[in-house]
Amino acid sequence: MPIVPSGPTDGTFPLGVSPVRVLRFARCLGRFRMMLPTLPRRALLRFAAALFLGLPAADAAHAAQDAPLVAAAADLRFALDEIAAAFALETGRSIRIVYGSSGNFRRQIAEGAPFEVFLSADESLVFALAREGLTVDEGVLYATGRLALVVPEGSPLKLDPELADLAAAVGDGRVRKFAIANPEHAPYGRAAQEALESAGAWAAIRSRLVVGENVAQATQFATSGSAQGGIVALSLALAPGVLGSARHVPVSESMHKPLRQRMVLLKRAQATAREFYAYLRQPAARAVLGRHGFALPGG
């Protein structure tokens, strides 16, 4: 059976507290009536009882969630949601996805976080985990990511795949704030920095940067009106929530090191995870990735 956390799924509370003891405690609340002369006692007692009795019910609700955990880079949000839905439709199995910064996931997995599949936006992170013996193998390249320069409606920035206007825009004050993901641990942030350096705009713009904890947050900053634009994942610029309120242009690939996105099965991966991993390499899944602006390996 899975070594995955069984906490909320087996009907007892964590730390071994039994529901019977909890019920007795709830009954003891009745003795508190001496203390509650001015409060609606019955209502309070009913609420308390409901809370304690309802909790096992809440447990039962996601007892079905023995679903494997997938750690996915933030730029995959809309693409992967679509793929997961299709997977559920086809196989009847569900997975639980956590989106975040790849660098963060790499650290958490090393500390024992219970993920079974890791879709990184930076393959070096996968190699590192493989070296540490935490993965089944060295994984496989599933996509190459693209950067996009994104500007909200009404922004004075010009759209240019070579980012030519950017340095000038900083100089003449058209750009006061510019969003990218955190270059320290987000691959898209690092790539954005490389692109800005290639365009000769890094020195000028770095004091104006608004840094997102991952590329999704950076996209939020770039399009919400708090910044005049940003460099984010193309897949996110194509997202329905963004398309309507912002314009974008893919950034020229020559301006940064390729975003080779690699995925890998972790040692604790079980059957469903492995199935999903295989599904991701099927044509259906690849098509979805392609539609979301990713370049696909092997043609």
Binding site: I3, V4, P5, S6, G7, P8, F13, P14, L15, V22, F25, F32, M34, M35, L36, T38, L39, L51, F52, L55, A58, A61, H62, Q65, L69, A74, R77, R96, I97, V98, Y99, G100, Q108, E111, G112, A113, P114, N214, A216, Q217, T219, Q220, A239, P240, G241, V242
Partner: protein, 225 residues
């Protein structure tokens, strides 16, 4: 609306209250009744989570409970799953960062009880436990209610520590505060807005309960004179 996250948050808050408040009662009563060398230090220690940045607390908790720590390894051996990235770890973190919210209102409430009442209870033949249950707790109930309300509301809203120690795993450690953060990143402003409104309502209710009980109590005392 991420109802799994909401229920998870409610469960975390309820369990934190259920575990922390009874323990807090005993600690607060002890602190209120006794003087001893180093008491100020102990009180400061319990108050620390009030000012400690959540990420600092999260960092130290990770170090103390993480997979490679002695505590983490013992827990994994004993219960079959890790302490971090699980609900159990969240509960531990929650109990720690709620210490001042539970202990301080209770301690103030116990301190407000004149010493002679405790002495009178003893002279009536009541043991410490009987005195606590029949005399002190009924008199300290505004403090108790405040402790429960504050701890509950504070747990619902905690973000930084939960993120660092829990990892935002749906159904396990993805609380409603994290769900809101996640929805914003996913451009689902409507979903984020709904959940924020629910949290806001619960927080207002908690503060309302606290203020109502303390003002009613004050009124009663005024009329009594």
């Amino acid at each position: 609306m991420d109802s799994t996250a909401l229920l998870l948050s409610l469960k975390l808050a309820a369990l934190t209250v259920a575990i922390l408040v009874p323990a807090g009662i005993l600690v607060a009563r002890f602190l209120a009744a006794r003087e001893f060398a180093g008491k100020a230090f102990v009180e400061a220690l319990f108050a620390l989570p009030l000012v400690l940045p959540p990420t600092v607390l999260g960092y130290y908790l990770l170090v103390a409970m993480g997979g490679s720590s002695p505590l983490g390894r013992w827990y994994e051996a004993a219960f079959g799953h890790a302490l971090v990235f699980t609900f159990d770890g969240l509960l531990v973190a929650s109990i720690i960062f709620n210490l001042p919210f539970a202990i301080q209102p209770l301690q103030r409430a116990f301190e407000a009880i004149p010493d002679d009442l405790r002495h009178a209870a003893a002279c009536c033949g009541l043991t410490g436990a009987q005195s606590l249950w029949r005399i002190e707790l009924p008199l300290a109930w505004p403090g108790l209610l405040t402790a429960v309300a504050l701890t509950f509301a504070h747990t619902l809203g905690e973000f930084g520590v939960v993120l660092m120690v829990g990892g935002s795993i749906p159904g396990e450690t993805k609380t409603i505060a994290l769900a809101i953060y996640d929805r914003v990143q996913g451009f689902d402003m409507a979903g984020a807005g709904l959940m924020s409104a629910v949290l806001l309502l619960l927080s207002v209710l908690a503060i309302g309960v606290t203020f109502l009980t303390s003002s009613r109590h004050r009124e009663k005392r005024r009329h009594a004179d």
